[in-house]
């Protein structure tokens, strides 16, 4: 159990170095949810489980930044980062902004939206080129 602010949470931490490359943290109670009008993929900084979104874990560090290795104690890293994630999650619900340090796209939802925008842009540019040259 963690109480990062006022709301207490029950968390589950899964770690098996033979199977996982990092601890998998789930928020068991109360379950996390998106802001009104948004989807689960829009919740920032998840290890998004596309097959079962409500079982998505938390993405707590940047592997490329070597911020965690199996030699690090979960109690000193993962647990503290989970408490911080929950703090920023509540602030995100309140303000609409993720106020914690992060890298890359904030959420899978934003990543997908950006990818979709890039594809639409490419198609429109391609159509524009064909029209200009005269379709074959």
């Amino acid at each position: 159990m963690l109480q990062p602010l006022a709301q207490p949470y029950i968390i589950e931490v899964f770690w098996n170095p033979k199977i996982l490359d990092r601890p998998y943290v789930l928020i068991a109670e109360p379950t996390i949810a998106p802001r009104p009008g948004l989807e689960f993929a829009d919740i920032p900084h998840l290890m998004f489980n596309a097959l079962e979104p409500t079982r998505s874990g938390l993405c707590l560090f940047d592997p490329a930044g070597r911020e965690w290795t199996p030699a690090d104690l979960i109690a000193d890293t993962t647990i503290d980062w989970t408490a911080e994630w929950l703090t920023y999650y509540e602030l995100w619900h309140l303000t609409g902004e993720w106020l914690g340090p992060s890298v890359g796209y904030e959420s899978v939802g934003r990543l997908r939206a950006e990818q979709a925008r890039a594809v639409r842009s490419m198609i429109q540019n391609d159509l524009g080129t064909q029209d200009g040259a005269g379709a074959a």
Partner: protein
């Protein structure tokens, strides 16, 4: 979750309530302007042309702050107007032939022409000076008849209609009692208050003229203080919150809320609650509601006295007599029970619910201000120092507010990331 209850704290809600209290209290600059208003009151009443001047004997009369300013519980009213309400006593030897109405008449005459006053209003027991963002209630206290208790006297009760009479009073003694029971505040609490004030205190009062501006800016004024030093005790802060809540709760009702002096007496009697500011408010609200319920069941009414001077009856005008009084006590009990229940719930609630709850209890603008304060406290995107976390509970503390302690440590540096767990796609995108 009940098996974990004994590990849970109210630290987060305590912090939020502190932030709220800072939004509704006068700033340090406001206090300096207020100090100057009292000084000007003294000068104005003592000027040679003042109607009171012939009766103010050097070394025999005193003009001083009482009420919320003296007990450090002044707040922005919040209900019908954004203003501070402060009180002053003119302690003097009233001529034996003066009636209660004479006391009011001459005080009202002496206050005419006070600089910066927008309006002067005659009330039953005081004359009210109305300034922008401030009302000052001035009361004459007669100490002509020697009394066994120092600084005790009588004040006039002079309604427009009905009987007038004298009321036993010792505001100086009451303030001394309250200040003695709460002290100057617990070290940790005072430090938290100081840190949060540095971030979000704001001033409201504007100097009336150049003289007030000059005095307000002066760091050292070679004049005796007119206002007692501030008390940063948990009890005083809880009183600010209780008063604000009750102001808003009673605003749409056609009934008077209990006088502030009764709330101060109750809080002083409750004493310091070690569990924190939330606990202080909950214990105050629940114990006072219980007292109201006991009186309702017994058909009696509260009869609190000034501990420094028992003839000074705190409940002489509230609750009302008879059935009106029962209604007064019922409403007050319901208001306090609502406050306690709400705080108990919010002590275990997410931030969105806390902010909505604070708006309901203490005002919409306060809720909006709180949202901004919380965002500023915890925004660590741009290279701020790391948050701190309490071991054992996972309680996260904003870097600017944390006090170094063996059970608190910095969160290891990291960046939140995201990835997709998908059977076919790459992990990292």
């Amino acid at each position: 979750m009940s098996k974990f209850e004994r590990f849970l704290t109210t630290a987060a809600l305590d912090g939020v309530l502190l932030d709220i209290a800072i939004q509704i209290e006068p700033s340090h600059a406001d206090r300096r302007i207020t100090e100057n208003r009292y000084r000007r009151l003294k000068e104005h009443l003592e000027r040679p042309s003042s109607a009171l001047a012939p009766y103010l004997k050097a070394g025999r009369h005193l003009i001083y702050a009482q009420g919320s300013v003296a007990t450090s519980t002044t707040i922005i009213n919040g209900a019908d107007d954004d203003r501070f309400d402060i009180d002053a006593i003119v302690e003097m030897d009233v001529p034996a032939h003066w009636s209660e109405h004479d006391m009011q008449d001459i005080l009202e005459k002496a206050l005419q022409g006070f600089p910066g006053v927008v309006k002067i209003v005659r009330c039953t027991r005081c004359i009210q000076l109305q300034f922008p963002f401030m009302h000052m209630d001035v009361t004459v206290m007669d100490r002509a008849r020697p009394l066994a208790v120092e600084r005790a006297g009588t004040i006039p009760h002079a309604p427009d209609e009905g009987k007038s009479y004298r009321v036993a009073s010792n505001p100086w003694g009451f303030t001394a009692w309250f200040r003695s029971v709460v002290g100057v505040g617990q070290d940790n609490f005072v430090e938290q208050l100081r840190k949060r004030r540095a971030i979000s205190s704001r001033s409201r009062l504007r100097a009336l003229d150049d003289m007030e501006t000059k005095l307000a800016k002066a760091e050292q004024v070679d004049l005796p203080p007119m206002i007692p030093s501030a008390i940063d005790a948990q009890e005083a802060v809880a009183l600010k919150l209780a008063k604000r809540y009750l102001n808003l709760r009673y605003e749409p009702l056609d009934r008077k809320r209990p006088p502030s002096i009764y709330l101060v007496k109750r809080m002083g009697t409750v004493g310091y609650v070690a569990e924190g500011l939330t606990g202080q408010l909950v214990v105050f609200a629940e114990s006072t509601a219980a007292i109201m319920r006991q009186h309702l069941a017994a058909g009696t009414r509260p009869a609190e006295e000034n501990p420094s001077y028992p003839p000074d009856k705190i409940n002489d005008r509230w609750p009302a007599q008879g059935m009106d009084g029962r209604r007064d006590m019922q409403l007050f009990a319901e208001a306090l029970e609502h406050l306690a229940q709400k705080l108990r719930r919010l002590a275990r609630a997410p931030l969105t619910e806390i902010v909505a709850g604070m708006s309901e209890l203490f005002g919409e603008r306060v809720g909006a201000g709180l949202k901004k304060v919380l965002a500023e406290q915890f925004d660590t995107r741009a290279g701020s120092p790391p948050n701190q976390v309490q071991t054992g509970t996972g309680n996260v503390k904003a870097p600017a507010l944390v006090k170094s302690s063996p059970d608190v440590r910095a969160v290891p540096r990291h960046n939140f990331h995201r990835l997709i767990l998908d059977e076919d796609a790459d992990d990292e995108a």
